[in-house]
Amino acid sequence: MKKMLPKIAASLAVCSILAGASVAADVIKIGVQAPITGSYASEGQSIDNGVKLIVEQYNAKGGILGKKIEVVTCDDQGAAQQAAICAKKLVNEGVKAVIGSYTSGATEAAQTTYHRAGVLQTSDGTSDSLIAHKYWTFFRNSFPNSAEAEYTAKYFVDGKQYKKIVILSDYSSYSTDLADATVKALKAKNANIIYEGKIKSGSQNFTATLTKIKSMDPDVIYFSGYYTDGGLLRAQQIQLGIKADFVGGDSNDNPDYMKLAGDSAKGTLLINVPTPDILPYDIAKTFLVDYKAKFNMAPASIWSLMNVDGLRAILHVMEQSKSDDTKVIAEGLHALKDFPGITGPVTFREDGERIGGGYMTYEVQADKSYKIVYQ
């Protein structure tokens, strides 16, 4: 027992030092919850970079409400359980608001924890289920799947007049949700869906599923999942000689899609909101220049810019209301009307939905550039 005592004393000392250290100087903490590693690392890092850039710009002007802003990043790896752990961690760190995550699943897993703690959360997750809880703490900074599904159905039926449609998704909440919404929108237009299937994200080998699809001789294969699988699906589709069009949902719009699909990328149709480089707004142009100057590359996609807009709106309301009380900020965000964002005017509905959304279809050219084919 004697031997143990000094050890216990030592451990206690260490613990109290640790406890002391975390009562930090007077700062306002902003959390980033994003997939810094894992399959969606390029998106997650882009969100983190974007947030850090904005915060740096604020701090250079002397911070906010007389305090410096500090960014606390937690890597959720795009996985739900890790997201729940991150949520606990960020709440315990005492953040006022959390930016992210990139995937709907990771966002949804963390929602309850933020809501209970009264921490604001803004995410680009597009699943319709994200606003189903009507949490006052949640603000979506992108546009919902149902809006994209409506557009897709219109394009397929009125634009392309596809007769035999195949819908593929993975198991993630976002992809399933987008596929379900698209099927619903297509059925409302009496379209003929010949196959609805699922692939296992990351399994690389999709030939068995594609071979089955080949026997059905479809006009179009629509994939509602992420670029990491989409690129491979497209490559294997061309390899197997399936003649159908390949249409990818918004999450296929990523430079890695082009690399994965290689030469097969040509002719792919991608549905998304406008890409960062064609955003018409001045703030967008300035932001992109600053981003490139600091990180020496372009943001991974429009999604990180959506998250940056979420952050900008929160900081804007904080300044206007001169309060860091999350209840007050939430009220301010709901009252916001056409706040000038990088990705267009920002207005939130009562349930946290962002209003608006203009979709476009791009056709990938041989040199991997985009051509707008439908609006």
Partner: protein
Amino acid sequence: MDIFLQQMVNGLTIGSLYALVALGYTMVYGVMRLINFAHGDLVAFSAFIGLSVYAQIFGESITSLVAVITVFVFTAAIVAFVGVLLERLAYRPLRTAPRLSAVVSALGAGLVIQNSVMLIWGPNMKIFPSNLFPSTIWEIGGIVITFTQVMILGVSSVLMVGLYFFIHQTKIGTAIRAVAIDQDAAKLMGINVNRIIMIIFIIGSALGAVAGLFIGTYYRGITFDMGWMYGLNAFVAAIMGGIGNIPGAMLGGLLLGLFNAMITGYISTQWAETFTFVLLIGILVLRPTGILGETVAEKV
């Protein structure tokens, strides 16, 4: 019918990759009674090594038969060296330790390899150049087969047949079999057991390297953590065929590839893994030594 044949081609392609990896597991197990959990990560490591070798020597633009062969040979040599190193550092000191200690060491080695890959090449997916093999596609009676698939099937068949004859016709092969049956007796017969184990690791790792390179050329996208999935499937294949049994691993790999393709193509994508493991557990319960494994009395 042509859909069925197409599924067979798909299944055999992935199956021969499993078989190449399974050989590494089965040979190590046969000789050392050790599940080499690091083997799958070694396969992933090979894909990244291959990518760098290619970029270093040929700068991503030149493709020729010579270039491809050089990449394969270089990569196999490097990975074989790492495999031998792995055995020396992580397994040899534990040869007399409790069996599970070696298993933990193998798990640790897997972590080391996987995270080294992540630190060296980064956490993001890396993309293999698409021009390593020509993108020729043949269509025979409705069945599509690519150049890469032909290469995978051809090269792995040659390697497997070669290995079979090596094990059964050469002096070293006989020594390997002797060590697998009884290490102590083999030692008494004048066989250098350490050397045999080194040879096992060279062959197993090199075959894994070939599989890793094919995974890269066939699927293009490689990630630092992909080794686990291929390792697990290959390991299951090795057990199905009868672990420790070399033709068993080949058979197990091909059968598993076919089985997966048929389940995915005709029954369910969602439950494919469940089918695989129900089959595995079924085999273990009914015939614990696998399809080709001999029933031996348990050593006491």
